[in-house]
């Protein structure tokens, strides 16, 4: 089934080489030709933006918004300083695709950042990596950036043109919320990561109060080849509404977990096959198809679903970041949502009351159920909290915490009920650990 599948042709195209992350490898594979061509032929900004719009490339961080349209929101006539920010704060649970781009194909990202900066008229671009990448991932990106500077592809008067674009590496310090684009701007400005009210949107008023575009690593790394091969090349892959390739991080109960870059619209069944099928010959029970923020789907529905934005939405979930978490028949769904709820409670920045209180409330109710003290009313409570959070917060973390809880109760209510009927309790589970200790954990770590 996977024999004729096109694999790792875009963001992971260097993986077939011996030293995937080097400048030489990237050049050998035709790298930086797009950027040189833009400078040499003085391609207009509009031409580039139009090609990216026409290609149908959608933001790969999770929101799936048209990349070219996002770029077009920048007022080119404005004399304000403009910024490009690359969001490399990869932290949506289940997602590990950007880390591999940063480690194995950093030059595609740098070239994409140069093209995007040029298209929006930015002379300064920042790549913000999550703090936990501070060791090898950050080093890989920094080394690549140095090579690009040494070869005069970045900096002042690039390749003797009048184009100046500086790219700076930045490092975070551990906060899921900083992946939200306006929280990232706050963090770059040296503040705690509190998302901003929108409007004004960053394209109008972003970093240091200036027009700013924020794009995900995979999105930017996709740009050079789209411009090089043309929008029709990209559109010839995938579906009409979801064209192109997408990196999927497959994890959980599969034989060959990892990242797979495949055409959008490929069936989940094929992706599962690619990831080596189910571990230990077990049956598929459930899948979280786009990172822990999206609704869970039962396995039988997923086996009939294709991996593109529309198909997954029609099935009742979201493609999100492309993090596919596979769960087999032995999985205890209450434990899974307990862990997810704990994460959002821990990572809520606390700025908005519905999220600050709601995430803690959901976690505590699930914790009570899993410890065998739950009642039927607790399930009703648990169903009512997401409705109070969704749509009432500045950023999407509230919704991200609410959606999974709703979906887990919706599809696996009987498992919650088995805890309430005392048929199941944590002592019987295979995940005994001190994480279930009754110690109260405070909203923020300190």
């Amino acid at each position: 089934m996977t024999d004729n599948l096109r694999l790792n042709e875009l963001c992971y195209s260097t993986l077939s080489s011996n030293n995937p992350n080097t400048y030489d490898t990237y050049i050998k594979l035709g790298g930086y030709e797009t950027w040189k061509n833009i400078l040499l032929n003085k391609l207009s900004k509009q031409e580039i933006i139009d090609t990216v719009i026409d290609s149908g490339l959608r933001g790969r961080g999770g929101a799936g918004f048209s990349t070219g349209r996002k770029w077009s929101f920048i007022n080119q006539d404005s004399t304000d300083t403009k910024y490009l920010v690359c969001n490399a704060d990869e932290s949506e649970p289940g997602t590990c695709k950007d880390r591999d781009i940063l480690r194995y194909n950093p030059h595609a990202l740098i070239e994409g950042m140069l093209i995007a900066s040029y298209a929006i008229g930015a002379e300064t671009a920042y790549c913000y990596l999550r703090g936990e990448f501070i060791d090898d991932v950050y080093t890989s990106f920094k080394n690549a950036l140095k090579d690009a500077y040494d070869n005069k592809l970045v900096g002042k008067n690039i390749l003797k043109s009048d184009i100046n674009i500086d790219i700076h590496d930045l490092i975070g310090a551990g906060a899921y919320i900083v992946g939200e684009e306006t929280a990232m701007l706050e963090s770059i400005e040296g503040k705690k990561g509190f998302p901003r009210y929108k409007p004004p949107f960053p394209a109008l008023k972003g970093l240091f109060g200036c027009p700013t575009i924020i794009n995900n690593v995979e999105t930017l790394a996709s740009v050079p080849k789209i411009l090089d091969n043309g929008s029709n090349w990209f559109k010839s892959v995938g579906t009409e509404a979801s064209p192109g390739f997408k990196c999927f991080s497959v994890s959980g109960h599969v034989n060959k977990p990892g990242n797979y870059e495949i055409p959008l619209g490929t069936s989940f069944e094929t992706l599962l096959d690619l990831a080596g099928g189910m571990k230990n010959g077990k049956n598929l029970k459930a899948v979280i198809p786009g990172g822990s923020s999206v609704p869970v789907l039962p396995g039988d529905i997923m086996m009939k679903t294709n991996m593109d934005y529309e198909s997954i939405a029609n099935a009742g979930s979201l493609l999100g970041s492309g993090a596919v978490i596979v769960m087999d028949e032995t999985t205890n769904m209450v434990e899974v949502i307990h862990r997810i709820a704990r994460f959002y409670y821990s990572e809520s920045c606390g700025q908005c009351t519905p999220c600050r209180e709601g995430t803690g409330w959901m976690y505590k109710v699930i914790d009570k159920i899993i410890k065998g003290h739950g009642t039927l009313d607790d399930i009703k409570t648990l169903e009512s909290i997401p409705k109070m959070i969704s749509g009432s917060t500045i950023c999407a973390l509230g919704d991200a915490a609410a959606m999974p809880v709703e979906s887990f109760i919706n599809h696996y209510r009987h498992e919650f009920l088995s805890y309430i009927k005392k048929e199941n309790k944590v002592e019987n589970s295979n995940a005994k650990s001190n994480l279930y200790n009754n110690k109260e954990f405070v909203l923020h770590k300190k």
Binding site: E92, G94, E132, I134, G172, G252, A431, S433, K445
Partner: protein, 164 residues
């Protein structure tokens, strides 16, 4: 050397902070807070109030500006911890692959609970996914990745660090 009454930021760190500041528009000092805290934590293992004061003074900022960053981001430790920080990912993908057993094994081996520290090891209560889901279960030791863990691998990693 930059002198504060209680803590002197070393000239190496000052050089690095000054270089970092060049990434930002003239006069913007706050964007160097996170990086400065990283540098000082690396040297001192954890952030003390005098470190916060020294950074604020050097960058001409309010102490509170630095403190709120130090207390917001989970990588900054403000209490005394051991020499090496171990973060076991216990988020969904790792949990499905037995991260809790890995954590239990470490707790027994190091004779501490998650969130506690010995002189040598700090077993951090890591709640974030560390973006290595394809290698679950995984952990970081001082932010170096160790993937596809099992008890034998853990024993070897700990042994190697202890003998280093």
């Amino acid at each position: 050397m930059y002198e504060n009454n209680n803590y002197n930021i070393s000239s190496e760190i000052i050089t690095k902070i000054n270089k970092w500041l060049q990434k930002f528009p003239d006069g913007k000092k706050k964007p160097a807070i996170i990086y400065s805290l990283h540098l000082i934590q690396k040297e001192n293992k954890y952030i003390k109030p005098e470190h916060v004061e020294a950074i604020a003074e050097y960058l001409s900022l309010n102490k509170m500006d630095v403190h709120e960053v130090a207390s917001f981001y989970s990588m900054f430790e403000t209490e005394k911890i051991g020499k090496h920080t171990i973060s076991v990912c216990t988020n969904v993908s790792c949990m499905l692959n037995g991260s809790d057993e890995i954590l239990n094994h470490l707790e027994k081996k190091l004779k501490i609970k998650v969130g506690e520290s010995t002189d040598m090891f700090f077993l951090k209560d890591e709640r974030e996914c560390l973006a290595a889901c394809g290698g679950a279960p995984m952990m970081q030791v001082d932010h170096k990745y160790y993937e596809n863990l099992n008890k034998e691998k853990i024993d070897k990693i700990i042994e190697d660090i202890e003998n280093d």
